[in-house]
Amino acid sequence: MSPVSRGFRHLTRAPAGREGRLPPGQYFTEGFPVLSAGPTPRTPPEEWTFSVTRGGQAVKSWTWEEFQGLPAEDITVDIHCVTRWSKFDTGWRGVSVDTLLAQAGVDAPFVMAFCDGDYTTNLAAADITGGKAWVAFGFGGGPLAAEHGGPARLLVPHLYFWKSAKWVRRLDLRERDEPGFWETYGYHMHGDPWREQRYAGD
C-alpha cells in the first residue's frame, strides 16, 4: 500500500473516454520525446540495406529501393515508453515483419534486432509475427525523421518502445533468447507495458 503523498493531486489523465488505453504508471503526452544512448546515426538510402539472418548467416537482404517496393501498410497505434510517456493514435507506414520473414522463408523462436549505432534489442518471434510488428519508414504522413529512428525503425507497439528499435538494419533469428542493449543494463527481457515489465524482476 503506497503512502499518500501529502498535498499531491493527480492531474494528467488520458483524454475522456480513452483512460483505458493508458497502461499502469504511464502518463499521456501529445509530444514525441526522443530518447537514445548515443549520437543519431545517419545512413544514406543508397547505403541502407535491411537483412534477415539466421544464427548470423545471411538469408535475405533488401536495398532501400527493393524495400520500398514491398507491400506497405498504414498503421495507427498507441505507443508506450518505459520512461512513462504514452502517445495515442500515432500514424506510421511500414512493412509487416510477417512479410519480411515470409520472403526470407525462415523461422525461429527468438529474434535479435541489430541497428546502426550498435543498438540491439531482443524479442520473441511470437511478439513480432501475426500482424504485431512492422519495419516502419513513415511517420505522420512523411518520412521517419532520423532522431525518431529513420530511415527505418522497428515498430512493436504492444511492448515498451525501447523494443521498437530505431535505425534497425537486421533481424537475426535465434534458438535462444539473449539480452540486447537495454536488457543488459537491467531492463526487462519482454517489456509488456500492461504488466509493467520495466526492469528485470518486474
Binding site: S2, S5, H10, G25, Y27, V34, E147, A200
Partner: protein, 247 residues
C-alpha cells in the same frame, strides 16, 4: 555486470526526505534517506512514485544527483505544465515520505576505471547526472582530466553554481549562457554548436569519453558536432534530460 538493476528486481520503498535545498528559482535538490539503499553509480537514476488520496499514482524517473557512497538525492526542475515536478519542487517538505525505487540504468555511468579524459556537456538540468560524475571523480581521488561545458539560459539558472566554482585540480568548467548574460560576462554565449565545441572539447586524438545530457535539441546538436569533430560514436554517451525532464 553492468546493470545494478539485474540484482533480482527493484522494489518500491518509502524514503524520508531529509533536506530540500533550493538551487535556483525553479530547481530544488531533495536529499533522501531510504531504508534499504543498495548504493548507486554515477549517472544512474531512480524512480519516484506519488499517490493521491484517491489512490491515483504518478511515476517519474530522476537522475541521481549525489555521488556514489552518498545517500541518494535528486535535483528537480519545476515544469509549469507538469504534474510531478511542481509537487516535488513546491509542496514537498523535509520530513515528508517519498516512495522510490532504484538505482536504474547502467549505460550512462562513469567509473574511475573508465578513464578519460572526460568531456561533460550539460544542457539545463542535464547537469544533474554529470554533477554526480564530477563529485564522484573528486571523492574517488581520480586524476582523470575533466572538462565541463554547461549551457544555461541565464547565470541565475545555473544549478550547483558554488560547487562547480570550487572545482579546480584537473577540472575545467566553462559556461555558455543562451538567453542573457550578466554585465562583464567573459564566458561563452549562445547555443552550443560545432564552433563552440571545437574550441572547448578535447581534440579527437585525446580519446576522450563524452557524456551529454540535456534537452533533445541540445543533445542532438552536441552529439552530431562531436562525431563531426572525429569522436567515435561509441565514445559519446547521451541522455535526454537525465530523467529530470519528465512532467
Amino acid at each position: 555486470m553492468a546493470g545494478t538493476a539485474l540484482r533480482g528486481g527493484l522494489t518500491w520503498q518509502t524514503a524520508t526526505v531529509t533536506a530540500i535545498t533550493r538551487e535556483t528559482g525553479s530547481v530544488v535538490t531533495i536529499a533522501l534517506d531510504p531504508p534499504d539503499w543498495p548504493g548507486h553509480r554515477a549517472g544512474q537514476h531512480l524512480d519516484v512514485r506519488l499517490t493521491d488520496e484517491d489512490g491515483y499514482t504518478a511515476e517519474r524517473e530522476y537522475s541521481i544527483a549525489s555521488a556514489p557512497g552518498e545517500p541518494p538525492a535528486i535535483t528537480v526542475e519545476r515544469l509549469e505544465d507538469g504534474e510531478v515536478s511542481p509537487y516535488l519542487s513546491g509542496e514537498l517538505r523535509a520530513g515528508d515520505e517519498l516512495e522510490l525505487r532504484g538505482p536504474v540504468g547502467g549505460y550512462f555511468v562513469w567509473e574511475p576505471a573508465d578513464g578519460g579524459p572526460l568531456l561533460l556537456l550539460a544542457g539545463g538540468s542535464g547537469i544533474v547526472p554529470l554533477r554526480s560524475i564530477l563529485r564522484y571523480r573528486q571523492q574517488a581521488g581520480s586524476d582523470v582530466p575533466a572538462r565541463l561545458l554547461y549551457s544555461a539560459r541565464t547565470w541565475d539558472d545555473v544549478i550547483y553554481r558554488d560547487e562547480l566554482a570550487g572545482y579546480h585540480d584537473g577540472i575545467e568548467v566553462s559556461y555558455t549562457l543562451t538567453r542573457a548574460q550578466p554585465p562583464g560576462w567573459a564566458g561563452h554565449t549562445g547555443r552550443i554548436d560545432q564552433a563552440l565545441l571545437a574550441g572547448v572539447a578535447w581534440p579527437a586524438a585525446a580519446g576522450a569519453l563524452a557524456y551529454i545530457c540535456g534537452p533533445t535539441s541540445f543533445v542532438e546538436t552536441a552529439a552530431a558536432a562531436l562525431v563531426s569533430l572525429g569522436y567515435p560514436a561509441a565514445r559519446v554517451k547521451t541522455e535526454r534530460f537525465g530523467g529530470t525532464g519528465g512532467h
